[in-house]
């Protein structure tokens, strides 16, 4: 009993917990509850018909597929950027460090318009890619480009602080004990970075699945080909088909939740295997 009465340095557990619950309900649970309520008013057949239409299925594949690819690209290159920013000193480092946050701050619509101006077949980059036979704007590749762009800061910003805490001495110790460079990376650096990498990956992925603003400008929005699921939800709502929109929204919610759970599970498993 005396354990429960343990005194804390800062009082107010009841108050802050109450506020947390209220805040979470207000900001998160009520909207999600509304979504589920709308969906629950449908019969199973209607629900299934709404979420399994070939056009909708094609959009799931694109949204989740492109988000996975984008997050994977960011995993590799985001880690690299974080490494460079932490381990080396070079002129303009502060500036580059600040630039990484740009996708957070820039309105996504602006990003989308900028990307399409760049990658359209008449754009600065697009006209050269065109010669090489690569089309980015208005293709699935364009969706991947947009989702990679908006996901970059997540990996960099989660890996960076962990890397800063990781002393270079450990790498030196590993080398002086006879480990090759590759072994040092594999046995010393990666295991300590893995949880942060996973978190960054999960965040970049989750952000990309829900992204709307930048993608609609560069994708071309062709049904079955370059139509992302969030756009389909908007289209349904604009036809006053609130139930259909809510049903697809629910599927996205569940799928994203399952994937995040999986990634978190992996993270927990890797950290338990121990460094």
């Amino acid at each position: 009993m005396s354990v429960a009465k343990k005194r804390r340095v800062i009082p107010g557990f009841g108050l802050t917990m109450g506020f947390t619950l209220f805040y979470l309900s207000f900001i998160f649970l009520i909207p999600v509850g509304g979504l589920l309520l709308y969906t629950s008013m449908m019969s199973w057949e209607d629900f299934w018909r709404a979420v399994s239409h070939p056009q909708v299925v094609a959009s799931y594949k694109l949204s989740f597929g492109a988000a996975l690819i984008g997050a994977t690209i960011n995993l590799v290159f985001g880690a690299l950027v974080a490494w460079v920013l932490v381990r080396y000193r070079f002129p303009g480092k502060k500036l580059i460090d600040a630039l990484v946050d740009l996708p957070f701050a820039l309105p996504t619509a602006v990003a989308g318009i900028a990307l399409v101006t760049l990658y359209a077949s008449s754009g600065w980059v697009g006209q050269y890619l065109q010669i090489a036979g690569i089309k980015v704007a208005y293709t699935q590749l364009g969706v991947v480009v947009a989702l990679t762009y908006i996901g970059l800061p997540f990996v960099v910003r989660t890996v960076q602080p962990v890397l800063e805490d990781l002393e270079a001495e450990r790498e030196e110790a590993s080398a002086s004990l006879g480990a090759s460079r590759f072994t040092t990376i594999r046995r010393v650096i990666l295991p300590s970075l893995l949880p942060a990498l996973m978190t960054g990956y999960a965040l970049a992925f989750a952000r990309a699945v829900g992204e709307y603003g930048s993608v609609v400008f560069i994708s071309g929005n062709m049904p079955y080909r370059t139509e992302i699921t969030p756009l389909l939800i908007v289209a349904k709502a604009e036809q006053f088909d609130y139930h259909g929109a809510a049903a697809i929204g629910t599927v996205m919610l569940l799928a994203a939740f399952a994937l995040l759970l999986l990634i978190n599970g992996l993270q927990w498993w890797t950290s338990r295997r121990g460094v």
């Binding site: 101006t117 289209a235 604009e238």
Partner: protein, 338 residues
Amino acid sequence: MKISLRHTLIGGLATLFVASASAAEIELLNVSYDPTREFYREYNAAFSKHWSELKGDEVRVRQSHGGSGSQARSVIDGLDADVVTLALAYDVDALRQQADLIPENWQSRLPDNSSPYTSTIVLLVRKGNPKNIRDWDDLVRDDVEVITPNPKTSGGARWNYLAAWGYALNKFDGDEDKTYQFISKLFQNVPVLDSGARGATNTFVQRGLGDVFIAWENEAFLSVEQLGKGEFEIVVPSVSILAEPPVTVVDKNVDRKGTREVAEAYLGYLYSDEAQRLAGQHYYRPSNPEIGKEFADSFPDVELFRIDDVFGGWQKAQDTHFNDGGKFDSILEEISRR
């Protein structure tokens, strides 16, 4: 000291109250669709002047623009619109069907099906018409790329689709199958489906995508006159649809806010000579034939058909073509299998 301060406060507040009550400033919200921006900006100023001369009250009209369907949805979801001026009757009718905001007979309350101005659908091509596009038939050629927004989300795009459908139906003597193939062929030539009319204009004008852009007549004029002077030409097809963008007072909202009188006057004044001329100047076809004659030079002669005559009204057209499982859906499905 204390008491006098309180009195001062009360006195001050009372003065404020009286002052705000006597200076009758009325505020109206007009929820409209994308391309009417420029027209209503000028019309609002004209109406304000007219009303203050008539009644001595100041009217300030706020405007909201966006895709017609999403604007209707905002009003249904509670946006406090006094009047709506949308792209098609179907979107206005949704206010009745979804939220009972207006009575069943809304479209017969004002002259000309409650459409003070009309428009039609034309083709916009690049300077010199390099692909030699003359009529709807050229839009199904293999070497032509067509820009139009998505009929699922854009009111203007639905007019585009129906205009082409009406043309083909006439061409094939009412053969539905052949008409369907024609429209399906047309949509195979569409590389990008923007969600709204303004987005599609940007794709064609700014991005340089596509050979021909199916557009509202007034949007086409705007592109020719303002966005890229001398870079585009308007091609008038042999047959097109008479687009009637209707207006109505939102009864539930004006009765609650007590703005019915001024809101009705606002819409009624759209039929005045002054407003009709203003519409003509912004490339809308005035519904008053007398004023229409003044603009005869700017509006080419087109054979126009009505949606009621060919499609049996908006509700039917929507059900057959644009709702889930409709003809447009099966066209998309067919294209995806190629």
